[in-house]
């Protein structure tokens, strides 16, 4: 008999971390994600874990680097400006091939911005974010259930690929309360951690670094990372579709934008419009194959985002050869409402093939 919890998104995520055997958390307060460190400051003590409120986000990501190098499952969380501070550390994690889970409960920007939800960090999350030629896996929940389930997946993928994984939530998902089903955690089969720093007793010393100065080393290392990202693209793209089989227009949206879009699509269908939804769950790797396949029949896509145009570029890269791509943006300040998205759908639906 599965347990149902009525729980806040941020806490569902934090509970997911503990369920996934994460016992180390380092973070710094920032609205709207403080529930995560607050929850973990209490709960980690109960499982003999370690919680540190670090002096800054910079310190947090570096403590994460140390804990990961020691072989532990560890996590940090922040919101947009704090994630900016962490970019150097994330680049080091990727370059050093260390597993790590980094949660961004996106708020509005740029700069100090505001505390309401946005999707303005899509580029930051999917284009590496820091310096150098690397990628992080990016998971985009759209419900409290996914805030929890995708956290379990995040830890597994981080260990599978020895790479940082970003969970890209937002203020709405973080603060809302919904029912979720508290399923048992079934981990992926993962490779042994034979690279961790534990003290060179009875073995040769190990090294965790990202510095490559010798002739040819840097190039080889970059291709090695590239192969890893290619493998991610092949094996890890995830998405959800609904009502796309007969759709004349497909909305592409993630996270909170996808939630509101679902209602808008229902309203559109009530008016006889044949609209479907394609919801990326992984933003890196972007589910381009799934979209491309859809574009062989659907010739009109509408990217709906809570920003001024970021994911739409990936939609275009995936389908622009075979379909028209439109964009509706609702920049941060307040979440979009279904009626507004319905208007946006209608605007591009008129003129769609009968």
């Amino acid at each position: 008999m599965e347990k149902r919890l009525f729980i806040k998104g941020n806490e569902a995520l934090a509970w997911g971390a503990i369920k996934a055997s994460c016992r180390y958390y380092f973070g710094y307060p920032i609205t709207p994600q403080n529930d995560i460190p607050e929850y973990l400051s209490k709960q980690l003590a109960k499982v003999e874990g370690c919680f540190i409120q670090a002096e800054s986000e910079v310190a947090s990501i570096n403590m994460l680097l140390g804990a990961s190098a020691a072989g532990a499952r560890a996590m940090t969380s922040s919101s947009s400006p704090g994630i900016s501070l962490m970019q150097e550390g994330i680049s080091y994690l990727a370059g050093s091939e260390l597993p790590a889970v980094i949660v961004n409960i996106t708020r509005s920007g740029p700069g100090l911005g505001g505390i309401s939800a946005s999707q303005g960090d899509y580029f930051q999350a999917t284009r590496g974010g820091g310096h150098g030629d690397y990628r992080t896996l990016v998971l985009a929940p759209h419900s409290v259930q996914e805030m929890h389930d995708l956290t379990l997946l995040a830890f597994d993928l981080a260990d599978k690929y020895r790479n940082p994984v970003v969970i890209l939530g937002d203020a709405v998902l973080g603060q809302m309360q919904e029912t979720m089903i508290d399923r048992a955690y079934r981990p992926l089969e993962l490779p042994p951690k034979d690279w961790t720093l534990t003290g060179a007793a009875g073995r040769k010393p190990r090294l965790i670094k990202s510095l490559y100065l010798k002739e040819g080393e840097m190039e080889r290392h970059n291709w090695k990372l590239f192969e890893k990202y290619q493998r991610m693209k092949k094996e890890e793209a995830r998405y959800e579709t609904s009502q796309e089989e007969d759709a004349q227009l497909v909305v592409v949206a993630f996270g909170t934008a996808a939630r509101v879009s679902k209602t808008a699509i229902r309203l559109a269908r009530n008016e006889g419009l044949k609209v479907g939804l394609f919801r990326p769950i992984t933003l890196f790797p972007f589910p381009e194959q799934g979209l491309l396949h859809l574009s062989q029949r659907v010739k009109r896509f509408l990217s709906i985002e809570m920003n001024t145009g970021q994911m739409v570029e990936d939609v275009k890269l995936s389908v622009a050869r075979d379909a028209d791509v439109h964009f509706y943006g609702h920049p941060p300040g307040s979440p979009p409402v279904p009626e507004e998205l319905l208007e946006a759908i209608k605007k591009v639906y008129i003129g769609a093939d009968p």
Binding site: V58, N62, A200
Partner: protein
């Protein structure tokens, strides 16, 4: 005759790339000697800073993690929280520790993390070609203070050992030098004491080494060594500024 001096086991038998007369090599050796003295090699993990210090992984025969510039104390914190019975030390220069890493070192000391920090203070940025450091002396010419450090423009040099000694979390804070054999012997004792404290879970230990950087001081090794005595020690006094005897602070 029997051999009375040889390379410590924790120090690999490879040539140092450091400049002639640079004290990094000596400091590496003193740290390795302390590790060997307490037989800690197999459970020690080093954290390299960025600067001439970045190559610790080439020279120490131990596990090493490379940290971003200034962040070694935070990386060391993560390591130590996971591996509580291992010996964790950082090796950082004056830019790494006292400039970009100032927040990390202060808070790591403040939390009383049970690690050892080796701080190499040569009043200049070495690796990057001789720019001003937070420890550059007033009047000292560097590539970014070509008219000499001016208090009105750049403030005074920072005395890290004294500053960290004021924190409750610090258990051991000392400043040493290597310019004379007598000072070197005191330095050896201080490094040993720092690692001993960590091995006994006595808290955060910090050793600041006044070092020569002949290349960026524009001096030959002997002159650079003299500068430590004539210019550095008067501003950065040697001594033990804090030494906790037991866990009396708990």
């Amino acid at each position: 005759m029997k051999q009375v001096f040889k390379r410590p086991q924790s120090l690999k038998d490879i040539p140092f790339h450091f400049c002639p007369g640079c004290h990094h090599g000596t400091i590496h050796r003193l740290v390795a000697e302390a590790i060997d003295h307490f037989d800690l090699r197999e459970r020690t993990i080093g954290v390299a800073g960025v600067g001439c210090s970045v190559f610790v992984y080439e020279y120490f025969d131990i596990d090493v993690a490379e940290a971003p510039h200034g962040r070694a104390p935070a990386v060391a914190t993560g390591l130590k929280r996971v591996l509580r019975d291992r010996i964790i030390f950082t090796y950082q220069g004056d830019g790494d520790l006292a400039s970009i890493g100032m927040s990390e070192i202060v808070h790591t000391a403040n939390r009383g993390e049970n690690i050892t920090v080796i701080f190499v203070n040569n009043t200049v940025y070495g690796m990057t070609g001789g720019q001003m450091a937070p420890t550059t002396l007033l009047g000292q010419q560097t590539t970014t203070s070509p008219y000499g450090r001016d208090f009105l423009q750049d403030g005074y040099p920072i005395r890290m050992a004294e500053m960290l000694a004021t924190l409750e979390g610090t258990s051991f804070s000392a400043r040493v030098a290597l310019n004379t054999p007598a000072n070197l012997m005191k330095a050896k004792k201080a490094v040993r004491r720092a690692f001993e404290m960590q091995a006994h879970d006595l808290g955060f230990s910090f050793v600041e080494f006044l070092s020569a950087c002949p290349t960026n001081w524009g001096l030959n090794p002997v002159q650079a060594n003299e500068r430590v005595e004539k210019e550095l020690i008067p501003y950065f006094p040697l001594g033990i500024f804090k030494e906790r005897k037991g866990t009396d602070y708990l």
